[in-house]
Symmetry: D2
Subunit: 351 residues, 4 copies
């Protein structure tokens, strides 16, 4: 079976590099195009890019020539790591030109006709693409978004609980790694020996995106799930990994054992389909008193699993726990690639 | 007026050193005795102690000879920085021998006849000492404790709110500095690039101590305040400073403006008495979107003030905010010294 | 005696803030002008400046209005914290307009008619100002520079050794703090868990500046001192403080005791004149096996002293040791202010 | 071909864990025994060991039962990660009992009849084992040591230069990662925002070990190489990786090009034999101005390669450069395993 040619928009940034790393040996996709700002267009990727990841830049991409970020690049699918303020228009232009757009940007996440997708959570929301194409007059192209890095992990932990017990309220405090701010991102003088209890725009996304993803698709529109989320978002001095302390209340009573059982029993579609990037299991529930820890657990499931621990009763709501996920893999590039894998497995690209 | 001679029990540890630093030039107290484990007894303090603080060890204490930790040392008051498991018996022995004991240890905090004191919050709880002396048959000696480092800051922020609006529920997530674990404490391999979402015993203290301090003294006993606290305690890689994200609900509705006004109007006893270590104001409310930050705000009020910021509505409870305090000053040694200053100002040592 | 009115050029940057902090309560100087880039001109300093220092911004300066960086500001002396590429022309314009310019920038350090000054080391080089004024046609104005942050500490440690034994060769490896790169400076993703063995332009400065300062003024020109310096400059993840490992060889044999004695006996002019910012002693020689350490010793002498330790024979050259100094105080703003204090004490501003 | 059964002595410590990780899927060796202190003996390895590495503990070892550290364990070879003070006697007991002992401890490194081995550098020193067995009366057993973590990388970079140009003097300053001190090792309060310019015993090892390894075996004894090394050893706040700045002088003149060519041309025995753990190439010479960096280069060659950069003339000696290696892989467990691979390839275990 020939691989599907794919491109990365904004390939030189922190998330763009993760896309490149995860796509370079992908069994289904072949990386054929890299785009960046006009200043980088025309250069070798190896020259245009200040490589940030621990593993060396794959040799096969170093010699690829960076192109302008505009339709015309040779591929069928583009993964967008564009900055939020540029992504909106550019992604529409690509979709209009017939590309399948998998976007990590926030620009279109709240559009009523754009799926905000976690394959484990709401694969049925892909049906929105019919609405999208009809409304926007797109024949082949489309836009599918993945959620905010903090919202992904949270939503994955909440999904089986919402299904089993019905969520009423969620209170979450995050301790987010530095890579979430991109590069150069947080100055070291702000990061060292410090916690910054504020990340611009983050709390709005965390309060809203999980409710869209856990919502129901009714008559071509998403009905947001009926519960409230209160986030406190903080930047701490870790490289990668978002750790979250979570308290939840349910509509229906649930023991701690039932909560853990709901997580352990969760076997969603990507795992059933054995998608290449899907972690097994998607949720890891640990019983040690001091896990998950950022450094020890962020790479679980090659960065695609969410680790949960310290499940205990909450004095104010019903249950509390800690969760952790890798913000640039499950929280960004890996999420987007898994979205594309799901659509590929469902035959969207055969049509 | 002659100064009161004071000693520090456990003077070589991390908190013991803070006691020494804060007492060495104190206007009311004179540091006349330093004790440590038997292994250190007989040595110069300068030799027995691995000094951890940024400012050099005060020259005047370096030559003091460390004594065994047992009654008989020359002073009227002792400040106890003993480890939790040793503090219980030793502190009782000192009190029985007639010393005023100001303890930073947790051993006696929950004793029914021991005041758990923040001078700004519950100075009236000192009346418990009558009960204590009667029960234990102590003539002159007594034990007064200060709360857990995380509980102090939280209780100070809650006190004016509880007085004005009545607390119903408090949900708090902490990001606690490394010095809270003492020395050697947290191994650097666990601290670097990591968050540890667990601190042994901490959550129990934070769930309980504020309720004792905000309780009422009725007929010689403390009635714990009638609200619930749910803590999530985390260790992050900062040297000093505990940052806490807090959501609260009230019995009586309160606007954000009323909440801020309650904090700003708070003018408790230590500030009225102008105690040497009392910060002016005790609570600093900041309006920037990204404050308090650990590094920038922990030294406010010479480490004795609590800084509050990001006051906003909570989607789940009523109001949420961020607070920060210095864990080894306001959260430990400074707290204990302020306790002693209050009793001195109230004439307890004149009798 | 009325204070001399002074201004800070580039007052909103990392070094500019240190100037402000050190000048705000200065006994001889009164801070009357703050300048910054055109974008900040006209704003309150408190609004224009992202304050980086631990102590809060002094209230008295927060309301000062930032001015454009051009002659016309109301003061007699300006301290320049301008970036290297802007400093050259602007400082000349100020000097031509009659201001005394004390520059922390590198632009004029190697000019043949500009003193590169450490008051403890080469106060006689101020005589170059006669040459400078004659050559440039300046009546009252002048430019005096202070050295690169790494070169200051090194030169202070070398000065008594060069005087006593004659230097032949110096091999130095530096571990420099993050604040040396300014703000935003080093991205946290580059700093965390990393050492960067390169600082652009730094090694050239360290190889050359000490030789100018330890040179002799002969017939109106500096003859560079006749020894060689080989620097390896590294950026490590500390906030403030430059630590340097140094090996030296001498023209004349010297025992370790003689080396230490030379440092201990050093009593240069600023200490004799008791200049307000001069540390007593300027060099602190410690005998512990593991000192100086960055965090414990950088604030020695209020950040103006240099701490030396681990003095021992070098297997390759003659003697080796470790030194440490505070890069934004002794290495930048404090150095410049001490220069101005020396000239004030010598009556230069009375003329 | 059946695998050789091997054991790890001191398997629960930081280096012991690296041994386990590297041996668990080894093509030639089968991990059959794990030993630790008596307190751990009898427990499951998964329970006895606080696992420190990012990758999870291999499932196959978690259920192995930890044994006492004494001869009798079922294997032919033992890798020793014992602490220095225990290693001496225990390793001799194992060798006397017929085990091949590959030791990472310093106890026997300077014994005249014990090879201090880097397979790329001095494979011929294995001939010392004849002397060792004769002297000690051992039939089958033996002790082979690998060098100090800092000395390994340095010696690998020096070996081709010594062969080509003859070393005269080496001056090295190290910036060593925290894992080098084991676990719990360096307290976080000492590591954060600090450099410690002292590591007990380290400088003696670095000054001596490379000279043994680069020495010649003459008449059954090692003649140490005739050059001097002056080390300055520092602990910095990185997790893994030792970075070293090096200045060298040669007996014979060499251009920078010739130096680089000597490194690039180096093709030692382990690479020729294609030993499983041998990196290709063993030395990586980079041309970027700011490499190697600790975080970016420590994992090169799966942690077994040494990366060199910033090759330039030295103002004091002849040439200077920066090198970096992974201290717990190439500097400890990996080094020891490569030693065993060499002996296996040379047929030592067939006899």
């Amino acid at each position: 079976m020939p691989k599907i040619p794919v491109g990365v928009l904004g390939a030189t940034g922190a998330v763009g590099q993760r896309f490149v790393e995860l796509l370079v040996d992908h069994p289904w996709f072949e990386l054929t195009a890299l785009t960046a700002s006009d200043a980088s267009a025309g250069k070798r990727y190896g020259d245009a890019c200040r490589w940030l990841l621990s593993a060396d830049m794959p040799a096969s991409v170093a010699d690829m020539v960076v192109q302008e970020t505009a339709p015309g690049v040779e591929c069928a699918i583009v993964f967008s790591a564009l900055p939020g303020d540029r992504a909106g228009e550019v992604e529409e232009a690509f979709a209009a030109a017939g590309y399948g757009v998998f976007s990590n940007a926030s620009a279109h996440r709240q559009d009523v006709d754009v799926p905000l997708l976690i394959p484990e959570v709401n694969p049925d929301h892909l049906a929105l693409l019919e609405v999208q194409r009809a409304r926007r007059g797109w024949k082949r192209g489309f836009i599918v978004t993945n959620p905010n890095c903090t919202a992904v992990m949270l939503t994955m932990a909440l999904a089986p609980l919402h299904a089993a017990f019905g969520l009423k309220a969620v209170l979450v405090t995050t301790m987010q790694g530095l890579s979430g701010a991109g590069y150069p991102g947080v100055p070291s003088l702000d990061a060292l020996d410090n916690v910054i209890p504020y990340i611009g725009g983050e709390e709005d996304k965390v309060a809203s995106e999980p409710r869209k993803m856990l919502g129901r698709l009714v008559d071509g529109a998403i009905q947001y799930a009926d519960f409230v989320i209160s986030p406190h978002c903080n930047r701490v001095s870790t490289r990668e990994g978002h750790l979250e302390t979570v308290s939840v209340s349910f509509r229906q009573k649930a023991t701690l054992e039932e909560v853990v059982a709901a997580w352990r029993a969760w076997s969603p579609l990507p795992q059933q389909l054995n998608l290449p990037t899907a972690p097994h299991p998607p949720l890891i529930v640990r019983s040690e008193p001091d896990r998950p820890q950022t450094r020890l657990d962020r790479d679980a499931g090659k960065g695609m699993a969410v680790t949960i621990g310290r499940v205990r009763p909450c004095e104010v709501l019903d249950v509390k726990f800690v969760l952790l996920g890798h913000n640039t893999i499950r929280g960004a590039a890996g999420a987007s690639i898994l979205n594309a894998e799901l659509m590929k497995a469902q035959g969207w690209f055969d049509r």
